[in-house]
Structures are given as C-alpha cells and as structure tokens.
C-alpha cells in the first residue's frame, strides 16, 4: 500500500473562489492510502514546495497528489520538488482543479464536488504508479531555419554567432523576404535595404550558415534533438556553383513579358532573372513557366551568352536529407487577396493599389525609380486617399478578424513621406482607430498629423467609384462630424490585412506543430513561452506566429535563436520515460501499432518463445525503440490484444481513474 500525501492549492483566489479547498483536502483525507492531506495558498511557491518536501520526510510518503493547475503549467515543478525529497519524480500526480474545474464552474458547490472527484481519480492512479527512470538521447548540433526573411536571417545569424551550424531554407530564389520590397522603415525612416542587405551578405559569408534558396521542406521525421528533414532543391536550370551573377542572360533573354513579382507585377522581367540587384545568392533562375527553351525547345539564348557555362536546361529537382537538433519556423506573411473587397475597385482601377504596391512605387529600385506616379497614366497624383483596415478587424467573413498591427504605422509613414516629397499633394487617411503602441510610434503618427498636415478622418470608406475622367470618387463617412464625404482622389491606397504564408499549414502538419484558426503558429504559452511551439524542438520566429513589425520580428527572431542555442548547447537530452512497451506474451503480431505510430518507433521481429509444453515456437512480435517513442499513446489504443501499454499512463492506471470518477 502506498503512503499518499494530498496537497490542495488555492492558486490565490483562482481555485479558492469557486472550490472549497478546505473541504477538498478534508474529503480526500479519508481516501485509501492517504496519510496526509492539506491545503495552501500557493503550492508552487517556495513555502508550498517546502511543505511538500517536509511532509514526504515526516510521513514517509511514497506518492504525492497535487490538486492545482494544469500539469502543463507546473508538473515539471512538482516533479523536481519531490525529487528533492528523495522520491521518484514520476510518483507525483496532478489533479487539474483550475483549468478543468474552478475556471469553468461558477457554483462553488459544483466546483468543490468536482475537485474532490478529480482528486480521487489522481489518488487512484498514484496507487498504481511505479518509479520511472528517464533515458537520454544525443543532440544533433545543427539547426534548420525555414524561411529566409528578416526573421529567419536574424535567427540564423544569432545561432551561427554562438558557434552552431545552421541552414536556411527559402522558397524564393533569394533570401531577404518582404523587407527587401520595403522602401523606408518606421519609426526612424532608415532605408530598409541599407539595414537588411548587409545582414543578407553576412548570412552568405558566414561559414556556419548554409542557404538553400529556391528550396522547400518536403518531409520532417524524428523528434527534438534529432530531426531528419527532406529538402527539395527546385531546379533553377542554372548551376549555382558556376553562375557569377553578371546578369547578361537577364538582359538578353527574349521573353520580356513576365510579370515581375518583386515589383508586384507593376513591371515585367525576363524568363531568366535575378530578383533584384542585392539578391543573395546572386545567381540567375529560369522561370520554367515562361522559358521558350524549356517549353518548346526553341531558344537557348541565355546558354549562348553565358560565359561561365552555368545554364543547364536538363537540371532536375533534387531532394536531400539533413539531420537537425532544432527547427525554427519563420515562414512569414503575405497581404491578403482583395477579391472580397470589390467596393474599393481594386480590380477595376489601376489607380487603386495596395500599400505594398505603394511601397514599390516610392522605392528608388521600383518600377518608377521612386517617382510617385499613377499606374494608369504615369502622372503625379495630387490627392491620395489611404484606407486602413481593408480586411483587418473584419468579422463579416470577407477578411480577417484580427488587427494586422503594422498598417497604422506604415500608412502614417506613407502619408508623411508623400507630404515631405510632394507638398502639393493632399493626403487623407481613413481609419477605424489609430493604433500606435510601440517605442516612438505615437510620436511618429502625431508628426504625420501635426507637422505634415495629413488629414486623418475617423470613418470607413464605403465605395471607390472610378470616374470617366480618370479620378476616383471616394465615398466615405466622417464619424466625428457625422457627415458623408465624397473625395475626388487621384490615387487610393488600401492597407490590406496580412495573413500567414500559404506554406505554413502544410509545414505545421509536417512538424506536428499546432496552429490557430487563422493559420498562425501557436506558441507553447502565450505569455511565458512565446517563441516555442508546443512541439518540442520546434521554435517560432516572426510573423508566422502573429502580425508583427520589423523591430518585434527581430526581437522574436533573436529570442528563438536563444532557445535554439540553449538546446544545441546540451550534448544529451533527457527522454520522456513515459514511453510505450509491448508485452511479448500478449502480442499477436498484427502490426496495428506499427501502422499508427507517427514516429516510426515500433519494429517487428521474429522471436523464439518457449511454450508451456516445452517446445519452442517462433512468433512475430513488436518492439518499441524507447529513444524514438514520444509517448503519444496511439499504439496502446490501436493494439487489439492489450499487449501495448504506456509507462506512467498504463491501461490499468487510466481505468483506475475512470473507476474513481464513476464511483
């Protein structure tokens, strides 16, 4: 018989307000095996933990039940506590009477009754607990960063700085991401290229960093400390070891009408191209959808003009496999498509543009060499209307329910820079709220209003009507003066909501990392573990986790790097001892468990058994590789003969809990 101690936590008023903690500790005192039961305001505090340690020694406890918050929160804490008092850490059970009880009940009597039942279940389980010892697994000292925008770049640089190898996988031909398309950055207005491109070059030159550009992750196997990742290097039909980036091919290619994605289709590029002058790696890529040679075998101009002999029309996609100790998701964002917002006439008028297009129109390397000109007629616009929250904070289902966070600031930047460079231009900004929390952010916005006389109008635009004379009739409401406004504009700029890149969801599936309903990666804890995924060994960097501006993205990128470094510094990781094991005498060799195991931890082999009649028989039985098993329990459910069981969560333990609840 176990000697069990019960410790009921108040969690301040979090539990005590809806659960009579005194009654719970009193009721659990009379459960079989319980020799000590008490309650305390904060069981996780030092005093609380000492209370547990003292009780273990004083009452010779062999098992401990703690009625408190979710085990996700403090199971590790309490395991350490009992270990400090000489008990095996797996002799602790947590009854979650906060998230699963006090927080969801309003009635104290109901809450108390339920807390007692949950406590009884934990006691029933701890009776069947056995000491478990954790094994160890080695750590592969190399990290993978998926996405080569500013987030991925910063994470990779920081990891490399600590002395670890790190690979960046980027789907585009160059790293740099969205920041390469931006002209100036708020709130200091320094040039984005001037602060980003040196970092891109640092990545390329750092011998600890390897860049897989124009590549994609296609499969992920393994677990924390030991992932095996398949990377598809897409055929770019150019030998990157030979290409010097001279760019002659991109000038001679006869296919001139390929929409240039770097300038958001506002001008054209060739079928062989280098995205922009500062691209890293600076090598050409052939766009197979447009290349005449690849489509119908007629052309070959690039091959003829390439003095380095780098063109290779026969190049194929190549899949390589690499092993990593940690993986960082940094897949970034895109502005949403505006198909659901035809009231703004984006698809009907060339002079209705998105903010990112505006960014290209004001960029010296953009389609107009930085001159702010109307796309329709190349004339200078004299009245510009900026529309905020296009698809952000939208609960109608057309857009996104969340705030995209960056739009208020970049619109203030656009408005201010326009007034600075073209003082003869009238600039209007329509907004629901102006949200500028951030260091020097509100001051920045106020400068736009007070020093640059940008007309900020609280209200939404209902319609943008292109007129026959080329102007845009902007119909809007002014909520402060309660008026309907009609503004005749030359250019309308829409602050489109941002959404996670489409590659994020399939990647999350590969990583078994969780996502929210908007396809942003979920963090392990919203406040305390904001750069880690709940999946061990997977970390989050930048906007793949939620909307962020550049300063925040860089902070998070470095934080993710710190977490990766902390992991890679270890030579070995302690494994979870709660792993599956198979009872060979019960196993019927059906392979059900092998099929459901997501980690490939189960193998079958023929084994010789001595039978009761003293003969021997060869049977096919399952065996679990404990170093690979993650203890998910899928096999124990699938096993038809009950041979597969999970240590620490055995079928008997679970049934004992169920019995205790149903009693």
């Amino acid at each position: 018989m176990q000697r069990i101690g019960v410790f009921v936590c108040w969690c301040g008023s979090n539990i005590a307000a809806t659960v009579d903690v005194e009654a719970v500790s009193e009721a659990l005192k009379s459960e079989p095996g319980v020799v000590f039961s008490t309650n305390y305001q904060y069981m996780c505090s030092e005093a609380g933990q000492n209370m547990i340690k003292d009780a273990i020694k004083e009452h010779n406890l062999t098992g401990v039940v703690i009625c408190s918050c979710s085990p996700r929160m403090h199971e590790a804490t309490f395991r350490k506590t009992v270990q400090g008092a000489g008990l095996n850490p797996y002799m602790v059970e947590i009854a979650n009477i906060r998230e699963q009880c006090s927080w969801i009940h309003k009635d104290k009597q109901t809450g108390t009754e339920k807390a007692i039942i949950l406590g009884k279940a934990a006691i029933a389980k701890v009776h069947l607990n056995a000491p478990l010892t954790a094994g160890e697994s080695p750590v592969v000292k190399r990290a993978l960063v998926i996405g080569g925008g500013i987030a991925g770049i910063q994470t990779a640089l920081d990891i490399a700085e600590a002395g670890f190898d790190v690979d960046i996988v980027e789907t585009k031909p160059t790293i740099g991401g969205k920041m390469t398309q931006i002209d100036k950055t708020f709130p200091t207005l320094d040039c984005a290229a001037c602060i980003l491109t040196p970092k891109m070059v640092d990545c390329a030159q750092n011998e600890k960093i390897h860049i897989y550009s124009y590549s994609e992750v296609t499969a992920v196997k393994g677990f924390v400390g030991n992932f095996t990742v398949s990377i598809k290097k897409k055929a770019r039909y150019v030998d990157t070891t030979k290409c010097t980036g001279c760019g002659v091919c991109t000038e001679k290619c006869p296919v001139k009408n390929v929409p240039n994605e770097f300038n958001l289709g506002m001008n054209n590029r060739r079928a062989i191209y280098i995205p922009f002058a500062q691209a890293v790696p600076k090598v050409a890529t052939i766009d197979a959808d447009y290349c005449n040679m690849l489509k119908n075998g007629k052309c070959g101009v690039c091959s003829k003009v390439c003095t380095a002999g780098a063109i290779d029309y026969k190049q194929q996609d190549e899949i390589i496999e690499e092993r990593y100790g940690a993986i960082v998701a940094a897949t970034g964002f895109n502005p949403i498509k505006l198909d659901n917002f035809d009231e703004f006439a984006y698809s009907q008028s060339k002079d209705v543009i998105t903010s990112l297009e505006f960014e290209r129109l004001t960029n010296a390397a953009g389609p107009t060499s930085g001159q702010l000109l109307r796309p329709s007629d190349g004339k200078h616009p004299h009245t510009i209307v900026f529309v905020q929250c296009v698809g952000s904070r939208d609960t109608s289902g057309c857009g996104k329910p969340y705030c995209s966070k960056i739009c208020c600031m970049y619109t203030a930047k656009h408005a201010m820079l326009t007034r600075e460079k073209y003082p003869d231009t009238d600039v209007y900004v329509f907004y629901i709220d102006v949200r500028t929390p951030g260091k020097n952010f509100d001051e920045f916005y106020r400068r736009a209003v007070e020093d640059y006389n940008v007309h900020y109008i609280k209200g939404m635009v209902g319609k943008v009507a292109p007129r026959a004379d080329g102007t845009l009739d902007v119909q809007a409401s002014d909520l402060i003066s309660n008026e309907q406004l009609h503004i005749s504009a030359d250019l309308v700029v829409l602050a489109a909501a941002i959404e996670p890149d489409k590659s994020a969801r399939p990647l999350a599936t590969m990583l078994t990392a969780s996502m929210d309903t908007n396809d942003f990666f979920t963090e392990a804890h919203a406040k305390l573990r904001p750069v880690e995924s709940p999946t061990a060994g997977v970390f989050l960097s930048g906007t793949c986790q939620g909307p962020k501006d550049i300063p925040e993205t860089v902070s998070q990128a470095s934080a993710a790097a710190a977490k990766v470094i902390g992991l890679l510094c270890k030579d070995k990781l302690t494994c979870n001892p709660c792993v599956a094991h198979s009872d060979e005498m019960l196993c019927n060799g059906c392979s059900s468990c092998e099929k459901v195991c997501p980690y490939g931890a189960i193998t079958y082999s023929d084994k010789e058994f001595r039978m009761p009649d003293r003969t021997t028989a060869i049977r096919r039985v399952a065996a679990v590789n404990e170093a690979v098993c993650q203890g998910c329990g899928a096999c124990t459910v699938a096993c038809p003969s009950g041979a597969m069981d999970l240590k620490g969560f055995s079928n008997k333990q679970i049934m004992a809990e169920v019995d205790a609840i149903c009693k």
């Binding site: 917002f341 006439a345 319609k463 009507a465 026959a468 009739d473």
Partner: protein, 261 residues
Amino acid sequence: MTFSYYPGCTLKTKAKDLDRYGRKAAEALGVTLEELPDWQCCGGTFSMSKDEIASKLSAVRSLASAKDKGNDLVTLCSACHNVLKQTNDAMKNDPDFSAKANNYMKLDVPYNGETNVIHYLEMLRDKVGFDKIAEKVTNPLTGKKIAAYYGCLLLRPGKVMQMDNPENPTIIEDFIKAIGAEPVVYPYRNECCGGYVTMEDKALAKKKSNKVALSAAENGADMIITACPLCLYNLNKNADESDIPVYYFTELLAEALGVKD
C-alpha cells in the same frame, strides 16, 4: 422547362411591362412559367427584426404553395425576390423563426424552406443559358450601349441571395452581351436608388438616383435596364438631372427575341 412563377402585386399594377415581356420572352425561349394560383403579397420589404413574424407569413404561404407544385420558383421583381429568398433562408436555417412561422401557419406538413427560389435572371443564366439565348436572338440590339442597374435588393445580402458578387456583379452585363448589345460598366450600378425614401425625403431620393443615372451617362450608356419597379420609378421620376431612358430588362429581351409588340 417548367417553373412556378411569382409575379407580385406591382407587376399586376404599376409594372405590367416587366411581367408582360417577361412572360412573352419566356415563351419564346421555350420556358413555361406557371403562375402560383394562390400567391399573396410578398410583404413588400423583409423586416430585419428577428421576432417580426407576421409580415413574413404571406411570403411563407407562397413558398409553401410552390413546394406543393414541386418546381423551382421564379421571381421577377427585385423586391419580391429579396423578400422571398430571405424568408425562405430563414425558414431553412433559423429554427426559431421557422418554428414560430409554422405554429402560426398550421400547415398540413410544416414548411422548412424546401422551395428553391431563383430570380428570372438566374433562370436565364443557369437554366436556359446565355449562350442558348444568344442563339435564339432574332433582333440583336447591336451597337446599343446599355448600363445594367442592379440596385441593392437583387444582390444583397450576398450570403443569402447568392446570385453574384454584390460588389462587382456580372450577371446583367452577361445578359446584355447575350442580346447582342454592349454593356457599360459604371461604379454606381449596385448602389441604392433611394428606394422608399422618396416618400419622405424627396431631396435624398433625387441625390441618390441622380448619382446613378449621371454615372451611367458619364460612362457612355444609351439606356439603363433594371429588374426593379421601384428603381425604375426613382430613375425616371427622381433622376431629374439626366434624361437617360430606363427600361425593364425583360422588355429588351422580348425585343431581341422578336416578340415585343
């Protein structure tokens, strides 16, 4: 091809042309429109109030009667279409509403939105096909520049009406092409004409309908077509800054098919 047909009160009085040409054109296209024998007024407008049941009951009655006939129910007036479609949607998807309505109605079999309500334009597009119409046109309106006027009731609320993109529709433009004319796309084709506001604020109705008519004219239209009697009224009477003519789309369809008298 046989459909049940709901004309509505206005089509029997002020908007006889909308109805008359609609029937003639349907006949020419080989479509049989069977007028619901016991239809009642749709209720005029769809009340937004959740517990307002009484004003919707007559619409439910017509819908239930169409269910007994077993054919899709074709409507023609934009306002009737809007009320019938929204009421039908509420009967189908709002259990509270349909329970209350069915309690009042005491039908032999409860009605739960089984009837499929389509507008005449949807019938042309989805059942007959604009390409088939183009083949049957004997008198193409070649060279005519026509502005489609949708108004608000035909397309909104988009999730219920499900006819076309409410902000950038194409169904009437495609219809105009089918009868051999040239559609004129202009930004105010899906804005409100002023509707019933003409009863109490003439100036506002004038402002709204002038905006529509002038915008169509500015973009080079010779005429405006509509499916709504109230829109036609407002654009004729209240758009006093423009003399652009306004017709029912069925009149032009009948003309193109050579059955206009």
